[in-house]
Symmetry: C2
Subunit: 314 residues, 2 copies
């Protein structure tokens, strides 16, 4: 089954087009997980592992997919990277779909190496050649999909697309990000009247996505569109009719459920709203455990998105 | 001493504005380093380590700086990442400046985490807050500079710039890449007549680089401009007067020494030409060791660049 089919099934099953972003930050961890005021890297990684396991257990029955932010693990070098891949395997074992938020992007054989690193497990005997061998197509520890950066061009994206095709995995290509400064280089107007992000979306649709349309209206080539960017969402939704849109920025970054409505198709499908800090670090009520607070935050986010989609369908 | 001062001194000392890119590929390794036709990941990593050490020893007296391509190590997950950082420490111990070619880019606190991961060692007690603490400013195992992707905007770049400032390290920001498809999104014309890369260069110069100009005409905020892109090089050189330009694409990708001339200032400074496969994997002459062939390839590249710069100065 392709990634987009697995994702659509999981969203239907949980009636929740939402994603929880795993962004562990030591300063924000629940007090009982902070073993020290001056923790060693090993102590921090252990705390991240325990925290993430607790979050996964709290949300596994509520959300279809979780997104792991590589940077927070990568900053602890090899040990952090080991924790990142181990936690992805744990999430998969709980029946969750996983997105690796790695935002990688390079050219040629370097893109192929990144694609192998983040979409396919390393198996003995795989060479570094670009050829994709059947014996490494076990999904294993690597996520079901990753985010990638398209700035370098279509030929730079192709190795990721080929690896996703060969492994039945997915991509979410950055098209319009959720930060205030995203307008600096993504909103600039081209001489043809399109913004740079609109040109990017149209180029991806015609050269990468359209050739991959199958029975489903959606493909495994999704796009990241910041939920904070309501002025661009309708335009990008229209230009990427066969992409699942991943919408970061909900909650702490300021996006509301109503702001995400334009990213969904009329059938209420085609988008996933992602939140990190607002779900990971809620204020616990008196007597409430931190895991119960996380569960409550994820549930209320789900209900908010459901409310908006129900309104839209009425 | 800031990164650009250390880089300029190293280039002067070796009279060689060149960089060797460390892109280990098992298929291309010298026969005596290939222990197996079906190597395990551990065997591949060991071979990469031995190969890289051999290359570093061969070129250390010829080139001022080496660039490590993270992807080829990252594809072996934690063990590969450990080798990447260990080899950077080895290169530093040989007196080489090091660039981590990681092309990272994200937003806010995630950019801060990437900057910490790749520009500053992790020290016990550093929290995940954005505050930069003196006790983590030891350069240690992390490279002297990294490449970053600017697509997400100036606010997304700022955490990298702040970390580079605080650690005396450098950045090479992707402005125009060396791949054929780089024209898809980097050469598009804006309504103001500039290409997207030119707009990017002007925005970086005015908002990031100009405020950091000191005694030297150069700053520690460099730019990556593909050596294959002669039609853009003059324009980008002019728009980034205070940046060292890192020029990938020499050799295997097709750029010649003459094609790089426009990237250098009239004084023959301001650029570094980078080559990977053409220096790493030369055809050894009969009776020549692979390390001697690597040394010969690096020497002839240096002499070619010198020839072009001498012509330019006459």
């Amino acid at each position: 089954m392709s990634f987009h089919e697995r994702l659509l099934d999981a969203i239907d099953q949980k009636q929740a087009p939402i994603c929880v972003g795993i962004d562990p930050m030591y300063d924000h961890l629940p007090a009982d997980l902070k073993t020290s005021d001056q923790p060693s890297p090993a102590e921090i990684i252990d705390a991240y592992f325990d925290f993430t396991m607790g979050v996964l257990e709290a949300v596994a029955s509520i959300v279809p997919v979780v997104k792991f932010q590589s940077a927070y693990f990568e900053q602890y070098h090899a040990e952090g990277v080991e924790a990142y891949f181990n936690l992805i395997a744990e999430a998969r074992a709980m029946g969750l779909l996983t997105i690796g938020d790695v935002k990688r992007g390079d050219i040629g054989s370097t893109s192929s190496a990144y694609a192998k690193a983040h979409l396919a497990d390393i198996e003995p005997g795989e060479s570094d050649s670009d050829s994709i061998r059947d014996d490494i197509l076990d999904p294993g520890e690597t996520p079901d999909a990753i985010t990638i950066n398209p700035m370098l061009g279509i030929d730079a994206i192709e190795p990721f697309v080929q690896r996703a095709d060969a492994t039945g995995k997915g991509l979410f290509i950055l098209v319009r990000t959720s930060n205030p400064g995203s307008s600096d280089f993504q909103d600039v107007k081209l001489e043809n009247g399109l913004t740079w992000s609109e040109h990017l979306a149209e180029t991806l649709q015609s050269r990468v996505i359209a050739p991959r349309i199958g029975r489903s209206p959606y493909t495994s080539i999704g796009a990241v569109v910041g939920a904070t960017q309501t002025h661009t969402m309708k335009s990008l939704r229209g230009r990427l009719p066969n992409s699942m849109l991943l919408l970061p920025g909900y909650g702490t970054q300021g996006a509301t459920a109503d702001m995400t409505r334009a990213a969904f198709d009329t059938n209420g499908r085609g988008a996933i709203v992602s939140a990190s800090r607002s779900v990971l670090y809620p204020k616990a009520a008196p007597g409430e455990t931190w895991q119960a607070a996380v569960r409550r935050a994820a549930t209320s986010m789900r209900d908010e998105i459901r409310r908006v989609l129900d309104q839209a369908s009425n």
